[in-house]
C-alpha cells in the first residue's frame, strides 16, 4: 500500500497549489483526481475557458463595432464558432498540461479516480474501471471544490438548459439566451454570447445585480451592460421552464404585485451560484458533519474535527474564488509542515471579467456603513484619465474608501477596462496597511489607467489633480 505524508483530494487551484507547496516543504505528496485532466473546475470548465471565450468574443465585438472609428476597415467580421472553441480548448489544454508538468517536477504522485476517506489517514481511490486502491497518509486535504447549484424543478440537460459547463460548449450561437442569475458567471457568459450575437435576458431574484459588489459599482455596471444590449428582469424568479416545444418557454414571476410573464428562449443558462462538492468523500464514515450550507466546518487552521483531515477552497466557508483556494492551499501546506500559514481574508480581490471589468478588494460602502465605520470616499472617473480618453474607453471609475481617522485604505472598487489587473495594486497597498495618502504619493506611470487609482487616492483628501 503506498503511503504519503499528504494526500490532496482534488487538483483544482486549491488542491494543486497545496500539493506543490507541500512538496516544496519536503513532504511526500499524492493527488487524487476524479476527472481525466488536472486543474478542476477552474482550468477545465470555469475561469480559464470562460476567459478565453471572453477574450475572443471581445475582440470579435471590437472588430465589428470599434475598428471603424479607429480607421481600420475590415468589413463585417464573420464568426467561426468551431475555431473559437478550438482556441478556447487549446488554452485549457495548455493549462492542464502545465499542472501535470508541475506535478512531475515536484514528484507529486497522481492517482486518477474518486477519493473516499475510509478512516483518518486512509484514502481509497476508485478508478473509472472500478478498481480500487487504498492509500495510507499522515494528512489529508479535501479540495474537492464546488458544483453548479441546481434550480428547483429544472433539470439541466447541458443542451438547451445549461450550466456554465454547457454554456462554454454551445455548438451554435443561440438566438435568444435566458440567463438565470445576475452573478459573475451569468454576466460573463451572458456577455460572451451577447457579443457573438445572442439576445440576452438576465433574470435575477434580488433587486440588484452582482450581490456583494459595492452598490454604486453595481448600478453603473448594470447601465453599461444594458447599453450593450443585455436586458434585466430584477426581483423576479424563474419558476418553471417548459421545454416541450422547439423553444423554451420560461415562466418568470416578479416580486409581489406584478403579473407573471413568459420569456421565450432557445437556451437557458442556470447560473444561480455554486454549492460545495463533497459527494462520495465518505465524510459520514469518519464522523464529519457538514454545516447548514453543505460546507465542511474547519478551524482557523483549516483542520476539521477529524485529526489529520483538513479542507480548503470552495468546500469550506468563504468566497468561492480560485485565488482564495490557492492561498488556502499554500497556508494549509505550511501549517501541516509546522509553519505559520495564513490567509488575510480582508484582502481578497474579486473580479468580473466582462467589458468593462469590475474589480474590488476590501469593504464596500454598504459594509462600512453597517459596521458603523467612519470613512472618506475618493472617486475618480475615467472620463478624466488621459489614457482612457486616448483609447476612447472612458466608461467607469475608481473608488477608494479610507478610514476617516487613520486614512487606512479599507476598500477599493473599480469598473473599467483592465480593472482585473489594476486591482493588484490596491491589494498590495491594503496588505501593507497603506493609507490612501501612500497610494497618492506613489509615482504612477503616465499615461496609464492606474493613474486613476492614484487620483482616487488623492480625491480621498479632496485634492485630485485632473478633475
Amino acid at each position: 500500500m503506498p503511503s504519503y505524508d499528504l494526500v490532496v483530494i482534488g487538483s483544482g487551484p486549491g488542491g494543486y497549489v497545496c500539493a506543490i507547496r507541500a512538496a516544496q516543504l519536503g513532504m511526500k505528496v499524492a493527488v487524487v483526481e476524479k476527472e481525466k485532466t488536472f486543474g478542476g473546475t477552474c482550468l477545465n470548465i470555469g475561469c480559464i475557458p470562460s476567459k478565453a471565450m471572453l477574450h475572443a468574443s471581445e475582440l470579435f465585438d471590437e472588430a465589428g463595432h470599434g475598428f471603424g472609428k479607429m480607421g481600420i476597415k475590415v468589413g463585417t467580421p464573420a464568426l467561426d464558432l468551431p475555431a473559437m472553441m478550438k482556441f478556447k480548448d487549446e488554452g485549457v489544454d495548455g493549462n492542464v498540461k502545465g499542472v501535470a508538468f508541475l506535478f512531475k517536477k515536484n514528484k507529486i504522485e497522481p492517482h486518477m479516480g474518486v477519493g473516499r476517506i475510509v478512516a483518518p489517514g486512509k484514502v481509497e481511490v476508485k478508478a473509472a474501471d472500478g478498481t480500487a486502491m487504498a492509500i495510507d497518509t499522515k494528512a489529508i486535504v479535501i479540495a474537492t471544490g464546488s458544483d453548479v447549484a441546481k434550480l428547483k424543478g429544472i433539470i439541466i440537460d447541458e443542451k438547451r438548459i445549461v450550466s456554465s459547463t454547457g454554456a462554454l460548449v454551445l455548438d451554435k450561437v443561440p438566438q435568444r439566451l435566458l440567463v438565470v442569475g445576475a452573478g459573475v458567471i451569468g454576466l460573463e457568459l451572458g456577455s460572451v454570447w451577447r457579443r457573438l450575437g445572442a439576445q440576452v435576458t438576465v433574470v435575477e431574484f434580488l433587486d440588484r445585480i452582482v450581490p456583494g459588489i459595492d452598490n454604486e459599482l453595481a448600478r453603473q455596471f448594470q447601465r453599461l451592460l444594458e447599453k450593450q444590449g443585455i436586458s434585466f428582469k430584477l426581483a423576479s424568479k424563474v419558476t418553471a421552464i417548459d421545454q416541450s416545444g422547439p423553444v423554451l418557454r420560461t415562466n418568470v414571476e416578479p416580486a409581489a404585485g406584478r403579473a407573471a410573464l413568459e420569456i421565450e428562449a432557445d437556451v437557458a443558462l442556470i447560473a444561480i451560484g455554486r454549492v460545495p462538492y463533497t459527494e462520495g468523500l465518505g465524510l459520514d464514515a469518519v464522523g464529519l458533519k457538514l454545516d447548514n450550507r453543505g460546507r465542511i466546518p474547519t478551524d482557523a487552521h483549516y483542520a476539521t474535527a477529524v485529526p489529520g483531515l483538513y479542507a480548503i477552497g470552495d468546500v469550506i466557508a468563504g468566497p468561492m474564488l480560485a485565488h482564495k483556494a490557492e492561498d488556502e492551499g499554500i497556508a494549509v501546506a505550511e501549517i501541516i509542515a509546522g509553519k505559520a500559514g495564513h490567509v488575510n481574508y480582508d484582502v481578497i480581490p474579486n473580479v468580473i471579467y466582462t467589458f468593462p471589468e469590475v474589480a474590488s478588494v476590501g469593504k464596500t460602502e454598504e459594509e462600512l456603513k453597517a459596521a458603523g465605520i467612519a470613512y472618506n470616499v475618493g472617486k475618480f472617473p475615467f472620463t478624466a484619465n488621459g489614457r482612457a480618453k486616448a483609447n476612447q474607453q472612458t466608461d467607469g471609475f475608481v473608488k477608494i474608501l479610507a478610514d476617516a481617522k487613520t486614512d487606512r485604505v479599507l476598500g477599493v472598487h473599480m469598473i473599467c477596462t483592465d480593472a482585473g489587473n489594476m486591482i493588484a495594486e490596491a491589494a498590495i497597498a491594503m496588505e501593507f496597511g497603506a493609507a490612501a495618502e501612500d497610494i497618492a504619493r506613489t509615482c504612477h506611470a503616465h499615461p496609464t489607467l492606474p493613474e486613476a487609482v492614484k487620483e482616487a487616492a488623492l480625491a480621498v483628501d479632496k485634492r485630485a489633480i485632473s478633475m
Binding site: T406, D407, R408, F432, G433, A434, E437, D438, R441
Partner: protein, 413 residues
C-alpha cells in the same frame, strides 16, 4: 564593508542602550563573535559579528541609546594578518561550551525599521518631529502605518511629556548638602530597572488595585512531597518543588473565575482561554518574569521542569524576550526572602497576581485542639475594575482548597 546593525529585539521593544563594546576599532573579529552588549527593556543581548574582518568603526558609544535597525559600527574585510586572528578567536568561540546570552535568532523576515517607511509616515515624521522608530507599528511585520503615526502625534500633543519621561522625573531631586553629596554615589539605572520602575508605576496608575489575603495549611502538600520526592526526582530529573502545585491550583481557580485571567482593552474585556503563568524570578539585575505557557495542558513535572529551566537561564542572563511575553497571570514568591505578608503589584495588563510567602509553623486550631501547622499567607492583588471582590476572594479560596487537599487538583474539584 559590512554594517553592524541593531537586530530586531522582539515585539514592543524599539530601542536599546549600548551596554559594552567587547571589541575596539582595529580588532579582528570572527563571524558570530559577540561584538557588543545591548540592554533592552526586557533582556540583555549580545550582537554577533555579521562577517569576519576588522572592526573599522564604532558608531555609538557605551551608554548611548539606539533604535532597532540603527547602525552600530562597521567591519572591513580582514587583511591577511587580521584574517588569521579571527580564525583563532572563531575556534575559541566555538570551543566555549554554552553560547553566551543567546543572540536573538536572525529574523527571517525584514525587521520593521529595515523596511522603507511609507510615504505618509515619512511626511508625518518630517512635519511633526515624531520619530517613527519610537512608534509601535501595527502594519505587516510590525511596520508603522499612517494611523500609528497619527495616534502617536495625537498622544504627543495631548501629553507634553513623552512616555519615557517618568523615569527622568524620578531622578529629579533637591541637591544634597555638600557634606553628604560627596558621600553619595550616582549610578545610572539599567534599562531593565527603568522598565521595572515605569511598569510598576503604570500598573498602579491604571488599575484599581486591591489585595485580599488568606492562609494555607501546607501539611498535605509537604507530606506529598516528602513521600514522593525521591521517586519524582528520579523519574522526571527535576526537583519536586512547591511551584508546580501553586501553578496547578491557580490554573484551576482561573478556570472557575475567568475575570482574573482577563485584561481590559479599551471598553472591552478580553477573556483568555489559555493559561500562561508568569513566574517572577529575582536576578542580580532585577526581577524578570518568564512565562510558562499553556499550564492547563502541562503536567506538574513539566511545569516544574520549565520553571527550573527558566530560573537557570534567568541567573545566566539567557532569557529571551519571547520567554517573557504573553503571560495571563503571575505568581511571585516573596517567601524565599522571608516575607510573611505582602501586597504584590499587578504585572500589567494582567488582572491578577498571587503572592506566596514564607512557610512558618503556627498554632492552628484543628478540630478543637491546637496543633502546630506549616502555614503560608497568600495574597492576591487584583484589578477591581474587572474583578469583583467576591471573585477575587473565591479565587483565593479555591487556590487554598487545592493546596490543602491536592486530591482536588487531580479530580478537578
Amino acid at each position: 564593508m559590512t554594517e553592524i546593525r541593531v537586530p530586531t529585539l522582539g515585539e514592543s521593544v524599539t530601542e536599546a542602550t549600548i551596554g559594552k563594546w567587547f571589541k575596539q576599532p582595529g580588532d579582528a573579529v570572527a563571524v558570530d563573535e559577540p561584538l557588543v552588549e545591548l540592554e533592552t527593556d526586557k533582556v540583555t543581548i549580545e550582537v554577533p559579528a555579521p562577517a569576519a574582518g576588522v572592526l573599522s568603526e564604532i558608531a555609538v558609544k557605551d551608554g548611548e541609546t539606539v533604535a532597532v535597525g540603527a547602525l552600530l559600527g562597521q567591519i572591513n574585510p580582514g587583511t591577511g594578518a587580521a584574517a588569521k586572528a579571527p580564525t583563532e578567536s572563531a575556534k575559541a568561540a566555538a570551543a566555549a561550551p554554552p553560547k553566551p546570552a543567546g543572540p536573538p535568532p536572525q529574523p527571517p523576515k525584514i525587521a520593521a525599521t529595515d523596511a522603507p517607511l511609507a510615504p505618509s509616515v515619512r511626511r508625518l515624521a518630517t512635519e511633526s518631529g515624531v520619530s517613527p522608530a519610537t512608534v509601535a507599528g501595527t502594519g505587516k511585520d510590525g511596520r508603522v502605518v499612517k494611523g500609528d503615526m497619527l495616534a502617536a502625534i495625537e498622544r504627543a500633543a495631548a501629553a507634553p511629556t513623552p512616555v519615557s519621561q517618568p523615569a527622568a522625573a524620578v531622578q529629579v531631586r533637591a541637591p544634597s548638602p555638600a557634606d553628604d553629596a560627596a558621600r553619595e554615589e550616582r549610578v545610572r539605572m539599567t534599562r531593565l530597572r527603568q522598565t521595572i520602575a515605569r511598569r510598576l508605576k503604570d500598573a498602579q496608575n491604571t488599575a484599581a488595585m486591591l489585595t485580599t489575603f488568606n492562609e494555607v495549611d501546607m501539611t498535605a502538600v509537604m507530606a506529598l512531597r516528602a513521600q514522593y520526592r525521591d521517586l519524582f526526582e528520579k523519574k522526571h530529573g527535576v526537583k519536586f518543588g512547591f511551584m508546580g502545585f501553586f501553578v496547578r491550583a491557580c490554573v484551576q481557580a482561573l478556570k472557575e473565575i475567568p475575570a482574573v485571567n482577563a485584561e481590559i482593552d479599551g471598553a472591552d474585556i478580553i477573556y483568555k482561554n489559555y493559561y500562561h503563568v508568569g513566574i517572577a524570578v529575582g536576578t542580580d539585575k532585577g526581577l524578570v518574569v518568564p512565562v510558562v505557557r499553556d499550564c492547563d495542558l502541562k503536567s506538574l513535572a513539566e511545569i516544574e521542569k520549565e520553571i527550573a529551566g527558566y530560573g537557570r537561564r534567568a541567573r545566566d542572563g539567557q532569557l529571551k524576550i519571547e520567554d517573557m511575553q504573553g503571560g495571563t497571570f503571575t505568581i511571585t514568591n516573596g517567601g524565599i526572602y522571608g516575607s510573611l505578608m505582602s501586597t504584590p503589584i499587578l504585572n500589567a495588563p494582567q488582572s491578577g497576581i498571587l503572592g506566596m510567602h514564607k512557610i512558618q509553623e503556627r498554632p492552628m486550631v484543628v478540630a478543637g485542639k491546637i496543633e502546630a501547622r506549616p502555614m503560608m499567607y497568600l495574597a492576591v492583588s487584583y484589578d477591581h475594575r474587572i474583578v469583583d471582590g467576591r471573585e477575587a476572594v473565591t479565587f483565593l479560596v479555591r487556590v487554598k482548597e487545592g493546596l490543602e487537599d491536592p486530591a482536588r487538583l487531580v479530580l478537578d474539584l
